[in-house]
Amino acid sequence: MSVRKSDLLSAHARAEIDQWVSRYPADKKQSAVLAALREVQHENGGYLTTELMDAVADYLDMSPIAVYEVASFYSMFELKPVGRHSIAVCTNVSCMLRGSDTVLAYIERKLGIKLGDSTPDGKFYLKKEEECLAACCGAPMMQVNHIYYEHLTAEKVDQVLDSLE
């Protein structure tokens, strides 16, 4: 009868989380929090809500604030609605030396938005402050929806972004 906050989680999300939980000792369920948040964010169109974080907390027997801490710490979690396609341009040292500033400026112009914003049609999200993604040898680089694109030029950026639905 009683309603649990974790009821919000889909069967698929639960299965996915359970699979992660099974990798850790029984009393260390919270180790699966990153995987759980990633899955839940993915199902929710790329961002987390408080309700979803509460659901994860309930599911993993954590206090909600402990989940908020994790979700707000890691830059791969979004806590506000964002565009469908997430574009993260690396601006750390190697990429910067290889012209990431120009790449970023180009994308901002192309999409007509600033770093940290989403396009009004909800298609693109230009993610803030992505640090070195460990692809320095391909600098400058960006990550679009988990996929790395390296040696960026204006043409390459056009090609990648224009091909997205």
């Binding site: 009868m1 009683s2 408080t50 206090s63 909600p64 604030i65 402990a66 908020y68 801490e69 707000s72 710490f73 830059s75």
Partner: protein, 785 residues
């Protein structure tokens, strides 16, 4: 475990240190000061502030003293150039983002950052960039936040996790954007929340009620004892120009450790309540003391002469001091009155003749945290005696098996190994089941005088588990809480609990309700006993009987009968029907039945003594003068004694009174062992829906009921009806906001809440609240429509 010691040397001084201890523990004990922010002896080690860096010989870098275990032969320098440079460096970083608002900060003058900065900070900042600003959070009426001042020591976060048992504060964000807060705005709901105010080394978390009221160096500090639960927490009262401004804990490892419950910390606001009385009242009109005292003596004598001393009843608050309780009974007996009681919320007195001289905890508070198995009967210990709850929590986290038989599935922030949640009838039956199971395990038979209770009980698995845990673990304890005392079959529960304890080898204990519940027994504020537990020649009426068969006159001492007695409705009726009621109270009564009100001091304005749950006598001096013409209760009683012509009321000071009580009660060794049951006892029965009431944490006595900030905090409970959803279904009230509650022929409308922590067969309706006063006893049949 024998303690292994190692030899270390700090600043050239040789020290012996417990192996595995952190350096800072050893230097603290030796009085060598090392600056620190994140380290706190009652919390886990975070080692995140780096203020405690010291030089250790042969270590390449300075090491944090709070996280460096001592080792044989270690040589430490806390003030060497290297150590000082490290400490100054840390300080500089900490001050980079800290605002320079000490002049308007409540923590100023008692701020760890300020103190340490004085010693280690530079006088000019080299930081010219922008300082970070953090938005303040609203975390409720008790704690004010100024989060820009936070230095991220995480003491408050660890407190929630490790002590309060619920992590509500956390550090969200990262790096420059890290903030301490709740993320989702809400009021922090813990019975111990105020402790983060003391823990916070800076002015980020300060006490909201006393905010901007004074500067710490202006306050005068007075040692005192907290006046609510039976823990007897040690406190300091801080006054400014004679006015009580705030209360903080006074460390006492064997009582409250470094902590204080919110009730004890913030209840002082009740001292300044709007209805505080500064002059005596007769018929609601302010008069001089002389007139009021005359009216009192005349009123009492009048009733006694016409109707006999038996027509008078004395109700004394269990938060009254020893001196007050003692003088109250002396006055009563001097007038020939035997109807006197302080057990206002007890329902069943049938076994009082065989009750212990004073029912006590059965052990020391410190022992509670080492308990291996505990059965609590009728106890919401977290709300009733918060710091006993904290000790039990420590025991539970260390693997102790804490178990309950309760009329509601209360939330405990520690693992509960087994619990029976049942209506009052089921509670006694469950206890009988445990008794039977213990007897079986030990191969004994239940004594004949209890056999009527255990005959035919079917022992459930839970009851068997409880029994096995008590039998197989030592030390073990069986504790009776507030909801056992207010149970209509308390005698049966006590007898069964006594047997369970004796047979299983556990200690029997009580979690007394109020600051001086224990003292009331010793001082003789009882109808059947004299001071020191001697039997009275003729027993008078107990607190319940005095209301059920109303008296003609009442003397109320610190009591608001309709809110403080077991049956508020009966109390109100009895008062209204009485010819003469005199009330020694700090507050003007709104009830209208009081003929004479004598304004008396609150706990902070009088000297006195409380005896806590352990039987520990603790005396204190007044911290401020009583308001206006109010006088300490013991003095008022002294004058009344003299005016009534009672012998032996020539005390000069409260110490004289104390010496007299101590003479009769001071050396009594506590002993909870019981006279036992009654042959032919039948298990307690009741039909239909039963009201069950607790007294909400902030409704237990007149003072806390008037503490404004506590009343608006999330733990303050409103008057409402809580029903199990199934019961609501049966009654056809699902979906209703309010229902009509009828008890003893009186009906009120109360909000309805569906709550599956309430057992079927019960309607949970708290007592001690104005809106539920007109209803009847704390446990009794009720009709809901």
């Amino acid at each position: 475990m024998s303690e292994e010691l190692v030899n270390i040397e700090v600043n050239g001084i040789p020290l012996k240190a417990r192996k595995g201890a952190m350096l800072i523990e050893i230097t603290d004990a030796a009085g060598i000061s090392i600056p620190r922010f994140c380290y706190h002896k009652k919390l886990s080690i975070a080692a995140n502030c780096r203020m405690c860096l010291v030089e250790v010989e042969r270590a390449p870098k300075p090491l944090p003293a709070c996280a460096t275990p001592v080792m044989e032969g270690m040589k430490v320098y806390t003030e060497s150039p290297k150590a000082l440079a490290a400490q100054k460096g840390t300080m500089e970083f900490l001050l980079i983002n800290h605002p320079l608002d000490c002049p308007i900060c409540d923590q100023g003058g008692e701020c760890e950052l300020q103190d340490v900065a004085l010693g280690y900070g530079g006088d000019v900042s080299r930081f010219t960039e922008r300082k970070r600003v953090v938005k303040d959070k609203n975390i409720g009426p008790l704690i004010a936040t100024d989060m820009t001042r936070c230095i991220h020591c995480t003491r408050c976060v660890r407190f929630g996790d490790e002590i309060a048992g619920l992590r509500e504060l956390g550090a969200t964000g990262r790096g420059e954007n890290m903030e301490i807060g709740t993320y989702v705005a809400h009021s922090v709901a813990s019975e111990l929340s105020g402790n983060v105010i003391d823990l916070c080394p800076v002015g980020a978390l300060t006490a909201k009620p006393s905010r901007y009221q004074g500067r710490s160096w202006e306050y005068v500090q007075h040692a005192a004892v907290a006046p609510h639960d039976s823990i007897g927490s040690n406190i300091f009262i801080h006054t400014l120009r004679g006015k009580v401004m705030r209360v903080v804990p006074r460390e006492n490892e064997s009582i409250n450790e470094t902590w204080l419950s919110d009730r004890d910390r913030f209840s002082y606001e009740g001292i300044h309540s709007d209805d505080r009385l500064s002059k005596p009242l007769v018929d609601g009109v302010e008069v001089d003391w002389e007139i009021a005292l005359d009216a009192t003596v005349k009123g009492l004598k009048d009733v006694i002469v016409r109707q006999g001393a038996d027509a008078v009843g004395f109700l004394v608050s269990p938060t009254a001091t020893m001196e007050e309780l003692y003088l109250a009974q002396k006055l009563a007996h001097g007038l020939g009155v035997t109807n006197i009681d302080h057990r206002l919320r007890q329902a069943d007195f049938s076994d009082q003749a065989t009750a212990p001289v004073f029912p006590w905890l059965g052990q020391e508070l410190e022992e509670l945290e080492k308990i291996k198995a505990a059965l609590l009967i009728g106890s919401n210990v977290r709300m009733e005696q918060p710091l006993a709850g904290h000790r039990l929590r420590k025991a539970a986290l260390a693997g102790g098996r804490v178990m309950f038989i309760n009329p509601r599935d209360f939330e405990f922030r520690f693992p509960v190994v087994a619990k029976v949640v049942a209506d009052p009838v089921g509670m006694v039956a469950a206890l009988a089941g445990v008794a039977q199971a213990v007897a079986e395990l030990k191969g004994e038979s239940v004594p004949a005088d209890l056999a009527g209770l255990t005959a035919g009980v079917k022992v459930s698995d839970t009851e068997r588990t409880i029994a096995a845990n008590l039998v197989n673990n030592a030390p073990a304890t069986v504790l009776l809480g507030n909801l056992a005392v207010s149970h209509p079959a308390f005698a049966q529960m006590r007898a069964l609990a006594g047997f369970v304890a004796r047979c299983s080898g556990a200690r029997l204990g009580y979690l007394p309700e109020a600051a001086n519940s224990v003292g009331g027994w010793l001082a003789g504020a009882l109808p059947h006993r004299l001071p020191g537990g001697k039997p009275a020649p003729a027993a008078g009426l107990d607190a319940r009987a005095m209301l059920d068969s109303p008296r003609k006159a009442y003397v109320l001492i610190g009591v608001e009968p309709e809110l403080d007695c077991w049956d508020g409705a009966a109390a109100l009726k009895a008062m209204q029907a009485a010819e003469f009621v005199v009330s020694l109270s700090s507050y003007a009564s709104v009830a209208g039945y009081v003929k004479v009100t004598l304004p008396v001091a609150t706990f902070a304005e009088t000297s006195g003594t409380y005896v806590n749950a352990e039987g520990r006598w603790q005396s204190f001096q007044g911290a401020s003068k009583p308001l206006g013409e109010a006088r300490p209760t013991w003095k008022v009683l002294r004058v009344l004694g003299n005016l009534c012509g009672v012998q032996g009321f020539d005390y000069i000071s409260s110490e004289d009174v104390l010496a007299e009580v101590q003479g009769v009660g001071g050396s009594i060794q506590p002993d909870n062992s019981l006279g036992i049951g009654q042959p032919g006892w039948q298990l307690f029965q009741a039909d239909g829906l039963l009201r069950v009431a607790d007294v909400p944490i902030y409704a237990m006595d007149p003072l806390v009921r008037r503490a404004r900030s506590l009343q608006s905090s999330p733990l303050a409970q409103p008057a409402e009806v809580r029903l199990h959803p199934d019961v609501a279904q049966e009654l056809g009230v699902v979906g209703r906001d309010r229902v009509q509650v009828r008890q003893n022929g009186v009906a009120v409308d109360l909000p309805l809440v569906l709550d599956d922590s309430v057992p079927r067969g019960c309607a949970w309706i708290p007592a001690g609240l104005p809106a539920s006063v007109v209803l009847g006893p704390a446990v009794g049949p009720v009709i809901i429509q």
